[in-house]
Every structure is written in C-alpha cells, then in structure tokens.
C-alpha cells in the first residue's frame, strides 16, 4: 500500500534511539572531535548489545522474510531509522560502536557457520581501498597466495574505519590478478598476526571520533580457513558481485547517516531562528519570507525528500524487492543534499556557524564524507544512469 504516515512501531524505534543519541552521544560529541583518536570509552556501554546479528542463512534468490507482525517494521527500515538518530547524535561515534564495523556486516552476510563461531563476536573492520584503488574497487592489488595450509597476503590498505579499535579486519585481496574481479576474495586477518601492521591513523576534516587507518600486509600468513565464505575459489565474478550487492543494503544506511547529520544542523538552526524571533509557520509564500526562512524551509524540504528516498530503499529490502536503483538514488540524493544542508545551516547561523562553541561547524565537516565513502556520489549517479538508461559499463563509463 502506498501510504507514508509513519507506523507506531517506527515512531517507537525513533524515539528510543533519539534518547540514546541525545543522552549518550551528544554530550561527548565535541570531546572526541577534539581528541581525535582517543578511544571513546563511554561507548563500551554498547558492548554486549548485538548490533549486527544474522538471521537464518538464506539461499540465493530466496526472498527475505517479511516482518511476521504487520505492525512491526522490517529490519532494514528499523536500521535506517536507528542510524539517522545515532548520527543526529554523533556520526563519528556511531561509526565507533563496538562490534558494528563494516567487516561485521560482511561476516554476518557470508561467513560459514564455523567462521561465525570464530569471528562472530569480534569487532571486524573492512579493508578494501588502496592508494591506487578507490572507486575502482575491482582493481585492487593486494595479493593472496595459497601456500600449504595458509594464505599469504601482501599489500597495503588505506581508509580503514575502526582500524585501531577493531579485533580483526576483513581484507579484500586478489588470488589471481589476471582474472580481474573474479580473482577478488575476502580474508579475515586477526590483529597481532605477524606481517599485519597498523601503519598510521589519518587526520581528517570530520568524523574525527572515528579511527581511520592504513594497514600494511607484508607476507602476512593466515590460516587457509580464513578465506571468508566457502573455501572454494570459484572462477566467476559471483563472489565480487555478491559483496557489491551488500552495498545495496549499506547504501541506504549511509544515506540515513546523511539525514541524521543534516537534521542535527536543521534542528539547531530552527532553534536559533526561533530565538531570534523568526516565526516559522509553514504557510507564508516563500517569496514573502526572509532569506533565512526561505533557505531554512528549502533545506527542510530537501531533508524530507532525502529521508523518504532512504526509507523507500530500506522498505524495499525488507519487502524482498530488488532495490539496487533505489539504494543508489537514496545515497546520491542524501549524500549531496546533506552536505549542502549542513553548509547552508552554517551559513544561516553566521558567527554561530563558524565557532567551535557550537556543533554546527562540526556537522558541516562530518557530513562531507557521506557523499564520498561507500561509493561516491559520482559513482551513484553512474549506477543510476546506467540503470535508467539501460546502458552497460562499457557504454556509459
């Protein structure tokens, strides 16, 4: 049914997570922005809460279970609502929640039962990007060579989130460079493995509370059983495509992050507008509003649009519908939209948008990454364009 009034269950999830964000994340938001790389010990309170579970292992093509209770929202929708609230609290800290790394998502999705036993309770980061391979993830050069009972990994990974705080890392490496994408597999590398070094952590524009680091793999030897998923090396691109497909689930989450950060900016801006005596009645013709009001209204309208695209993508995933296009649309719109909203709010706020006495300047710095990681806005537009124009990679580059 096409009907967009939020159901009571959604409101319940939202209110609950808003309380968590407001009470646990906001108060320490500035602290960890300033103390970049300091471990946020307050987040240990989240340990033991299973953030990323795994439902029964699904066969390929099997539709996900629809929520059994029609009054309850699905898992993906619940997640984007949660993520929006948490990032309203603090985006960098949300990325630093224990045991909720991107590696955890990969493990939940493809690990064998035996691997789930070994790694399911560890904090897992994901290492894909290299200095020469960003958007072109299929061009990575980190190698994995089978040697007896081990894989031997060589290479360097950059921009790994939770690099310092994680227990293990899911590393993408190629077992056969000539095979291109078909040769790319993922491997679990535990901290402390000889030949696996955290080289340095980055100093960033924003999400400074999130530890982003570079790993060097130098003849790093891991057990044969650490190749994630089936140990069989299939001569197809299925493995690569499979991992790219998980991005269909994570893209709406990144979009939700953008919604959360942008909303933080808007909420604060509205507060200040009202304090300054601006009456926001959502009625007066925008031509007759002050410039501030008009800019504010347009930003709020954009936020609503961003959120609806995000909810749609998540709802479709819960509904078992293929949502590749809609997931990319949500990230394309929200990534850019959120960036522009946080910029605009900092502008409207004047001196209040520049000073570090308020968080607005931080939200502007935080939101920028959301149009970049997990598929840049440009890649999202490429995916959308190929999809609506029905063009292949070679036709539209």
């Amino acid at each position: 049914m096409a009907f967009l009034e939020p159901p009571p269950d959604l409101i319940k999830v939202r209110e609950g997570m808003q309380n968590v964000a407001a009470s646990m994340l906001r108060p320490i938001s500035r602290k960890y922005d300033e103390e970049e790389h300091t471990y946020p010990k307050e987040l240990d309170a989240f340990r033991g809460i299973q953030v990323m579970g795994r439902a029964k292992k699904k066969k390929d093509g099997e539709k996900k279970d629809k929520p059994k209770d029609p009054d309850k929202i699905g898992q993906n929708l619940g997640t984007v609502v949660t993520v929006e609230e948490m990032c309203w609290g603090d985006c960098g800290l949300m990325l630093s929640i224990p045991n909720a790394g991107l590696g955890n998502a990969a493990i939940s999705a493809v690990a064998t039962d035996e691997q789930l036993e070994r790694f399911g309770k560890k904090w897992a980061a994901m290492a894909i990007t290299e200095a020469e391979s960003g958007s072109d993830a299929g061009s990575i050069s980190t190698t994995a060579d089978l040697d007896g009972d081990s894989w031997v990994l060589n290479g360097e990974k950059i921009f790994v989130t939770c690099a310092d705080r994680c227990d293990c890392v899911v590393v993408w490496a190629t077992v056969d460079k000539e095979a291109g994408k078909a040769g790319i597999k993922s491997f679990v590398v535990e901290k402390g493995t000889p030949g696996f070094t955290l080289d340095h952590l980055e100093h960033k524009l924003g999400i400074r509370a999130s530890d982003t680091g570079t790993f060097v793999l130098n003849n790093c030897r891991i057990p044969k059983e650490n190749i994630l998923g089936s140990p069989e090396v299939k001569q197809t691109t299925e493995g690569f495509k499979g991992v790219m497909k998980t991005f269909d689930n994570t893209r709406p989450m990144v979009a939700a992050m953008a919604v959360g950060v942008a909303r933080a900016s808007l909420d604060f801006t509205r507060e200040k507008l009202e304090q300054a005596g601006e009456k926001l009645d959502y009625s007066k013709s925008p031509n007759n509003c002050s410039a501030r009001q008009k800019d504010y209204y347009m930003a709020e309208a954009t936020l609503e649009a961003m959120r609806l695209l995000t909810w749609r993508a998540a709802w479709m995933a819960d509904n078992g519908d293929f949502n590749n296009l809609e997931a990319s649309m949500s990230k394309a719109k929200a990534g850019r939209g959120g960036t522009l909203i946080t910029q605009k709010c900092a502008e409207i706020l004047g001196p209040l948008g520049i000073t570090t006495k308020e968080l607005a300047e931080k939200w502007m710095r935080d939101s920028k990454i959301l149009d970049i990681f997990e598929g840049t806005g440009q890649i999202q537009h490429l995916i959308i364009a190929r999809n609506v124009l029905k063009l292949s990679r070679s036709q539209l580059q």
């Binding site: 049914m1 096409a2 009907f3 967009l4 009034e5 939020p6 159901p7 959604l10 029609p70 929202i73 009645d281 959502y282 009625s283 007066k284 013709s285 925008p286 031509n287 007759n288 209204y297 347009m298 709020e300 309208a301 954009t302 609503e304 649009a305 609806l308 695209l309 909810w311 749609r312 709802w315 479709m316 509904n319 519908d321 649309m329 394309a332 719109k333 537009h381 490429l382 959308i384 364009a385 190929r386 609506v388 124009l389 029905k390 063009l391 036709q395 539209l396 580059q397």
Partner: protein
C-alpha cells in the same frame, strides 16, 4: 498500512487514467497547447472515469466511495504525465466539489453538489491567486465584509481556471483578517470575468482574471456558513495536489529526455553515453521520485485527517524548485530540438514555472 508500492486498487485506477493519457491526451497535447483549447469530448472521457465524484455520497450524484487523497494524488500525476493543462482541466470540478463536500453545510451540499456531479463534465472553479508581486494565499488582498445578512466581496483574482463557463466560483477572501471561502454564482452583478488570460504555460487551459466589485452574496453562501471553513486544509490539499501534478509532468520530461539521449547519435555514439548528459538524466530520475514522495507524504497525512500544513508546504516549495530544474534539464538534453514547440519539452518547461506559485488550481 505503511509502504511505498501501490495497492491493486490504486494500480487499477492509475492504469485507467494511463489509458486515457495514452489514447487521447499525449497524442493531442501539442495540438491542444497550440490551439489553446481542449476538445470537450476529451474532458468527457476523463470525466467518465469518475475521479471527481468518487467520494461524493450517492444521494448527491457520486459513487459513495471512501475519500482518498492518496488516490487523487496518483490520478493527478498520471494525467499530468500526459499534459498538465489537461490534468488541471479534467480534475477542476474537484476544486469546488471537494471543499463543499468536506466543509459545506448540509444545505450547501444539497444545493451545490448534484449540479457538479452530473452525467457530463461541468466545472465550477476556485479563485485564490491575486495579480500582485507579494501575493500570499494566507494573507489575501481580496476582502469580505459582513453586512445585513450578506457578504460584500471586493478584490482582484487571477489564474481562475474556466471562470467564463463556471456556474460557481469559490472565492478566497479575507474576513476579519482571516482567509475564508465564498461561493459566487455566475451572473452575480458584482462579478466581472475578464478577458481570457495569456500565461507562460497551460496554454490549453482557459484561465481568467476576475474582479469583485461590491459583489454581494447571501450569508448562506459563505462555505460552512456562520462557522466558516478550515481554509488551511483547503490550501494544504491544494499544495499537495500541485506537487502531485509536478511529479507527473517531471516524469514525462525525464522519460522523454532518457529516450531521446539513447537515440540521438553524435560523435559516433548516443549522447546518453556521455556522463554530462547521463548525470542530468540520473538527477531527473530521482528528483521525480523526491517530488512524488513528498506529495504522497502530504496526501497520506490528509488521508488520516492529520494537519498537513508543514508536509504540504514543504512538498510544494520543493516541487516548485525541483520541477523547474527537471524540466530545464528536459529541454537541455534535447539541445536545439528542446527549444522547438514541435517537441513537448519546451511546454513542460513553461508549465513548470507555475508550480511554485499556483494555489487553488487543483486538490487531492
């Protein structure tokens, strides 16, 4: 129940309007625009589908179905995807029927609904917009003063669709500082319908400026009589409707740009292969969805009777800006051909500027 996909019923209704669009509206949109008219039998074809009378009780000539702003939003989009001027004309009767049904007294319903819900298309209309720079639907220049059991209306209105043929005009005027709605019958000596307007868009739809000069109406013709009406709700519904119309027109603009870019070959390849063109089309695609979802959000709130002031306002202002951008890209992708009236893109471009301004043109 919450969700993003249409029900079977909604799909059926959408399909029936898509058929009229495919068979009659789209093939004739250009000629209607050029000739500045909509043939009466086209409007009858749309009238037969019954969208304007669906929610009117049987005793007044309607189908007695459940009132659904969401369904109306779907219909408006579908018609506008064929032609926006046609969409406004076809659904115009609702702008009078809907407020009378929802906010009129029993006497007013008995008096005015049957005439509007007849076998044949006959549109009464509404007059909200005013010809001034600082027009504001919530703060009107037109006034109503109560005097001896009558209301005296004074003011100037513009963009009144089909005013010359409308049996009744629902006029928005400020009463004691608050906007209210008043039914003015055709032929009222205080009502002067001007020459047909010439506007940038909606060429096929006849709109008029009207002048109210000491226009006297009986007190019983104030919508809702002594209690008056929820004018804000009337405006909210209008704003959601404009966003729905915009979604349809932008969808058509996007689809045409998409199809053209795949066929148009320059430098040995379809222009769709170029990122600069492909990215405009990608943006058009999701902006259509943004406009539609915002319209649906407002319509959903209205469906459950919640105050949709904020949702409708945001939907309209967003649609106003986004529709202009989408239809601008729509012309741009077609290059020089986008500028020629033989192709629909330039018409959509002209039409889309009104989205930011129109009030009281349509309703959900």
């Amino acid at each position: 129940m919450f969700g993003f996909s249409l029900t079977k019923e909604q799909k059926m209704v959408k399909a029936s309007f898509a058929e009229v669009v495919r068979d009659i509206v789209a093939p004739n949109a250009h000629d209607m625009d050029e000739s500045r008219q909509i043939p009466a039998d086209y409007l009858e074809k749309a009238w037969e589908l019954g969208a304007c009378v669906a929610a009117v009780p049987g005793e007044f000539g309607g189908d007695g179905m459940e009132y659904s702003p969401m369904l109306n939003a779907v219909v408006l989009e579908e018609l506008a995807a064929g032609d926006m001027a046609f969409a406004v004309a076809a659904m115009l009767p609702s702008i009078f029927i809907n407020p009378v049904l929802e906010m009129g007294t029993d006497k007013q319903k008995k008096q005015y609904l049957p005439g509007s819900c007849g076998e044949k298309y006959q549109a009464s209309t509404a007059a909200v917009c005013e010809p001034r720079l600082d027009f504001d639907a919530m703060s009107l220049a037109a006034t109503a003063v109560k005097k001896n059991g009558s209301y005296i209306l004074n003011g100037q209105k513009c963009f009144v669709p089909k005013a010359a043929s409308a049996p009744n005009i629902l006029v928005a005027a400020q009463l004691d500082g608050k906007p209210q709605l008043f039914i003015v019958k055709a032929g009222n000596p205080g009502l002067v319908v001007g020459q047909r307007e010439k506007n940038i868009g909606l060429y096929a739809l006849d709109t008029y400026e009207i002048t109210l000069k000491d226009c006297q109406i009986p007190a019983e013709d104030r919508l809702g009589q002594e209690e008056g009406c929820n004018y804000s709700r009337f405006i909210q519904k209008g704003r959601a409707a404009v966003a729905a119309l915009a979604a349809g027109e932008c969808r058509a603009s996007f689809e045409q740009a998409r199809d053209y870019a795949k066929k148009r070959v320059q430098f040995g390849e379809p222009i769709a292969y170029r990122q600069s063109v492909a990215f405009m089309i990608a943006e058009m695609a999701y902006e259509v969805d943004c406009i539609r979802l915002l319209a649906w959000k407002a319509a959903s709130a209205l469906e459950v009777g919640r105050d949709a002031t904020r949702d409708a306002y945001l939907a309209k202002i967003y649609a106003g800006e986004s529709a202009m951008k989408v239809c601008d890209y729509g012309v741009q992708v077609l290059g020089g051909h986008g500028y020629i009236r033989d192709y629909p893109q330039e018409r959509r471009y002209r039409n889309s500027r009104g989205v930011a301004t129109w009030e009281g043109l349509a309703t959900v």
